[in-house]
């Protein structure tokens, strides 16, 4: 069972939860189980081709799975996944809310 941290933009699709759990031996399997449990996430997470949405970054133990093995990246018991939106940055914006 892997834990998945949900970004604020996706929380309405998972009943407001900050973190959910899902089974699966790969990142793709874990996310598919997430989508089965919370169907409203499908359109946000995946494109029509079944690949990750371009603006969705998924991290396994802090590392972006796109530069690992993508959706085929192996997931171990107790691993943590984090879903984050891709955002502009890199300019030392130092914003204050």
């Amino acid at each position: 069972m892997a834990t998945i941290r949900i970004p604020p933009v996706l929380r309405p699709s998972v009943g407001g939860e900050r973190e959910v759990e899902a089974d699966g031996g790969t990142v793709g399997a874990v996310l598919n189980n997430l989508v089965e449990a919370h169907p409203a996430t499908r359109e946000q997470l995946f494109g029509e081709d079944g690949e990750l949405n371009r603006y969705v970054n998924v991290y396994l133990n802090d590392e972006d799975v796109r530069v690992l093995d993508g959706l085929d990246t192996a997931v171990g018991a107790g691993d943590g996944l984090v879903i984050l939106p891709a955002m502009a940055g890199g300019d030392h914006a130092s914003l204050r809310s």
């Binding site: 946000q44 949405n53 530069v67 939106p85 502009a88 940055g89 300019d91 030392h92 914006a93 914003l95």
Partner: protein, 324 residues
């Protein structure tokens, strides 16, 4: 009595213009950060550029590239979405070269940014703060589309950005270490540093070098997108050039910014702390070799946050600030 020649770079060099002195920054070994005797960690001090950041290289490249292509001439207004170091670098260079500069930035930036930009004579147009950098990019693109008299370098999509590092930063590192680079770590923002250095290193060193991106995990208060489709990926980024991509939380970034100061005496900005954290993680996975990381800027612009003197838990707005 004859004066011995100065051999140590970057002290060497005499320039007739401040802009020409950009680059040739020092590479400093940080022995206390190294987790193993056989692994050497080197910091490339981009904070030593004239306005104090790596963006001096980028701004110089963007402007000179446009000049070489005949796209701009003195008197023409330059427009760029930037709330940070690129704006400050552009402001200095545009002031030196005679280009009025208009910067689009979110309305919730720290006071240091506004002062530095105004100091160099830039005009500031504010975008909605709750939309972060994405909002500034969108507004600047709209302004450029509506008024053809603007020239927008657009660092997120301009190959002159990575080229500054392909032709400058990467070459300097290779020279200083005689090509013995095993891992390179830089921050992922526009992607310019990583793309430029990665291309040069992969060409020169092949797969012996690991290219690692450190990226910010923005705090939840600034993840305010309405939809994941509102995300943004700078067009110059080619993920295939990266071997690893690791995020760093704001808290860890601040903790490691303090470690750079406390353990190595290095007064650096917050992104450099995050990058150092990833560099040490990569170093701990190696048995021997050289790890090079980028110190993007110094700490002056972050002083008002109190992060260098307060306990980390007392730093205000830790999660609601876009630190880098």
């Amino acid at each position: 009595m004859a004066v011995p020649p100065i051999e140590r770079r970057p002290c060497a060099g005499r320039y007739t213009d401040l802009v020409d002195s950009i680059g040739n920054t020092p590479l400093i070994e940080l022995k206390r950060l190294s987790p193993k005797p056989g692994v050497r960690i080197w910091a490339k001090l981009e904070s030593m550029n004239p306005t104090g950041s790596i963006k001096d290289r980028v701004a110089k490249s963007l402007i000179e590239n446009a000049e070489e292509k005949g796209l701009i001439s003195p008197g023409q207004t330059i427009l760029e979405p930037t709330s940070g170091n690129t704006g400050i670098s552009l402001a200095m260079i545009c002031a030196r070269k005679g280009y009025p500069l208009k910067v689009v930035m979110p309305d919730n930036v720290t006071p240091e940014r506004t002062q530095l930009l105004k100091m160099y004579g830039a005009e500031i147009v504010y975008s909605p703060g709750d939309q972060g950098s994405n909002g500034a990019v969108a507004m600047a693109l709209d302004m450029a589309a509506d008024d053809a008299s603007y020239y927008m370098p657009y660092q997120y999509g301009n190959e002159a950005n990575p080229r500054a590092h392909y032709e400058g930063t990467a070459v300097e590192i290779l020279d200083e270490l005689d090509g013995n680079v095993d891992a390179f770590v830089a921050g992922l923002g526009t992607g310019g540093t990583l793309m430029g250095v990665a291309r040069r290193f992969k060409e020169e060193l092949g797969d012996r070098v690991t290219i690692v991106a450190a990226e910010p995990m923005q705090g939840e208060p600034v993840q305010g997108l309405r939809s994941l489709d509102d995300g943004f990926i700078p067009p110059i980024i080619d993920l295939s050039l990266l071997d690893r991509k690791i995020f760093v939380t704001n808290r860890d970034a601040v903790v490691w910014t303090r470690r750079l100061l406390d353990e190595e005496g290095l007064f650096a900005g917050v992104s450099s702390g995050a990058i150092a954290r990833v560099a040490v993680r990569i170093a701990s996975e190696m048995d021997h070799g050289n790890v090079v990381f980028i110190v993007c800027d110094d700490g002056w612009k972050y002083l008002s946050s109190g992060l260098y003197t307060l306990p980390v838990d007392e730093v205000e707005n830790l999660e609601s600030t876009v630190w880098w």
